[in-house]
């Protein structure tokens, strides 16, 4: 476990020395800020109380496109630099390497998410007697779980290529597949298939519960098992490099 922390710690610190990470954080916070402003302005004009959903909804979508930029280098860069050889010949287990990379990326995204708390705090100041705390807490819990699985998928994809651009697009591809997987269920006739596609859907587990202020254990399990599965596949992928 100490190795996991050593690797995560290095990754986390390295983000603060990397212009890409700053640009990603800036981009995410800027877009979110504009949407937040439009929401609040709209609420004032149309005389309804602005709510936290105005921040959480766009945040989820933005994470789909910003997370790959954070995770793309995690293992791909090691392969390009040749440092993979260093890590794989150090006394580190393959899963420790993968989990360490995941933890480093996840902690950095949590840091960015912590900054987005500014918007609910502003909102709370503006609205009397303050915003509904329920959806805020559950919403952020959902976003954190969602981010954990996004980063895990990103790490797993990053183990496949040594080119970061390839990793970025492949990761976005996997996200969008999971995000839109339930769409064909409306056309499909089979009830079991519908059920399955809906269960696999990335967004349903958030928008139907956490977003509404509800915590459903099955959703928590969904995101956690997705994270675990992706980390497992990432470890298998790293191990398989040895056999090539």
């Amino acid at each position: 476990m100490r190795n996991v922390w050593t690797i995560a710690n290095r990754e986390y610190k390295l983000y603060f020395a990397s212009p890409v990470a700053y640009m990603v954080a800036f981009f995410l916070l800027l877009i979110l800020g504009i949407i937040f402003y439009v929401n609040v302005a709209g609420a004032i004009v149309q005389q309804f109380p602005p709510n936290i959903q105005g921040v959480l909804g766009p945040l989820m979508t933005l994470l789909l496109f910003t997370t790959p930029a954070i995770t793309m280098r995690l293992l791909a860069e090691e392969q390009r630099l040749g440092t993979m050889e260093l890590l794989l010949t150090a006394p580190v287990r393959d899963w420790e390497l993968v989990v360490g990379k995941w933890l480093g990326g996840f902690l950095f995204l949590l840091t960015i998410l912590a900054v987005t708390w500014l918007y609910p705090i502003f909102l709370n100041q503006m609205v009397d007697p303050g915003i509904d705390q329920g959806p805020l807490i559950t919403g952020y819990l959902g976003v954190i779980l969602f981010t954990a699985s996004l980063v895990a998928i990103g790490v797993a994809v990053s183990s496949l290529f040594s080119n970061q651009i390839a990793v970025f697009f492949a990761t976005v591809g996997v996200y969008l597949l999971l995000w839109l997987i339930s769409l064909p269920s409306q056309a499909s006739g089979s009830a079991t298939a519908n059920e399955l596609l809906r269960y696999l859907d990335f967004s349903d587990h958030f928008y139907n519960t956490f977003y509404q202020g509800i915590i459903d254990v099955s959703d928590v399990i969904y995101y956690l098992s997705l994270t675990a599965l992706a980390l497992f596949l990432g470890s298998v992928s790293v191990e398989s490099r040895r056999w090539r």
Binding site: L86, T89, R242
Partner: protein, 325 residues
């Protein structure tokens, strides 16, 4: 200690190493010599636990490289061919990271110890991106020494260093080889000659020779190489020399230069001189140059005995004079 038995590795249908067997004891520096693509790096990668062999067994420091990979990796210091460094980290941070991965208790002290060993203490706070190639190489060596490993595996440790640094690294390796097992790969023959206790020549995945550098040299000690130089063209001289008994192989090197090997125990120089002068050539030089490890190496790793190219000849002359690349 390293023990390798029948090690074989296939990349798809290509066999990189074929049934390798060798051993290295404590306090021994074993040189791994061979042309590019001979299988040196593959063997080292198997010994360091980077990848498993297709078949065969290898034991490093008493542990099996496949079954007890983590135990092996704890006891091996490895410098890969491309020095694995993170350019965006400082020298200190990088070494500290590696020390932490190896769970060293006195990590910071060890970092300063190895920095001192490779004379890089003054660059500890500098970024790796700003270091010269030689400095990076030294940081790579430092990284391999952090945990005072029993077995040290160095893949071309002196590549890219300047002559002074090469001497320094060689001395360091000799020092380290006193109580450790060192496996060192190189394609610089003089290096193997100077540093190693034993040399293993490998070609196309097979061991073609294994002996001390001295023995390898004396193996062909009887045979000599003679260099001959005449004014103007050497045309026709080759055929004449070939008729002299005792002259074995002749290589032309252009602009009046010729080299030939002689049969063991025969000095054909007087006869050669007579022939050249009698046929009207202006003899400028006739010199015995002996057979170096380089020639033995070329003989062992060459498929058919064909004359060396010009470039190889240049290397040969330089190596004779300066002993460095």
């Amino acid at each position: 200690m390293i023990l390798v038995e029948g090690l074989t590795k296939d990349y798809g249908s290509r066999r990189a190493i074929d049934n390798l067997s060798f051993h290295a004891e404590n306090g021994e520096i074993l040189g791994f010599l061979g042309p590019n693509g001979a299988g040196k790096t593959t063997t080292m990668r198997i010994l360091t636990g980077y990848m498993p062999p297709t078949s065969g067994r290898a034991t490093v420091a008493g542990f099996d490289v496949v079954e007890q990979s983590l135990d092996v990796r704890r006891r091996v210091g490895y410098l890969p061919e491309t020095v694995p460094l993170y350019p965006e980290m400082t020298v200190f941070d990088y070494l500290k990271f590696m020390a932490d991965l190896r769970k060293l208790n006195n990590a910071e002290d060890r970092v300063y110890d190895v920095l001192d060993l490779v004379h890089m203490t003054d660059r500890a706070e500098g970024y790796i991106a700003n270091l010269s190639k030689g400095m990076r190489q030294r940081i790579g060596v430092a990284q391999a020494l952090l945990h005072e490993p029993e077995v040290l595996i160095l893949d071309e440790p002196t590549i890219g260093l300047d002559p002074a640094q090469i001497l320094e690294v060689r001395n360091m390796i000799r020092e380290l080889g006193r109580e450790r097992t060192v496996l060192l790969s190189t394609h610089i023959l003089s290096e193997a000659q100077q540093v190693c206790n034993r040399v293993l020549i490998i070609n196309k995945g097979r061991i073609v020779a294994e002996d001390t550098p001295e023995n390898l040299q004396s193996r062909l000690a009887g045979a000599k190489r003679v260099s001959l130089r005449v004014r103007g063209d050497v045309e026709g001289l080759e055929e004449l020399l070939a008729k002299i008994p005792g002259v074995l192989r002749i290589f032309t090197s252009g602009d009046g230069g010729l080299e030939f090997e002689t049969a063991p125990g025969q000095d054909v120089r007087p006869e050669v001189a007579r022939t050249a002068v009698n046929q009207g050539y202006d003899l400028l030089e006739l010199r015995s140059i002996g057979l170096s490890l380089e020639d033995i190496f070329l003989q062992l790793t060459r498929e058919e005995p064909e004359p060396p190219s010009m470039a190889a000849d240049d290397d040969f002359v330089q190596a004779e004079e300066g002993e460095e690349e």
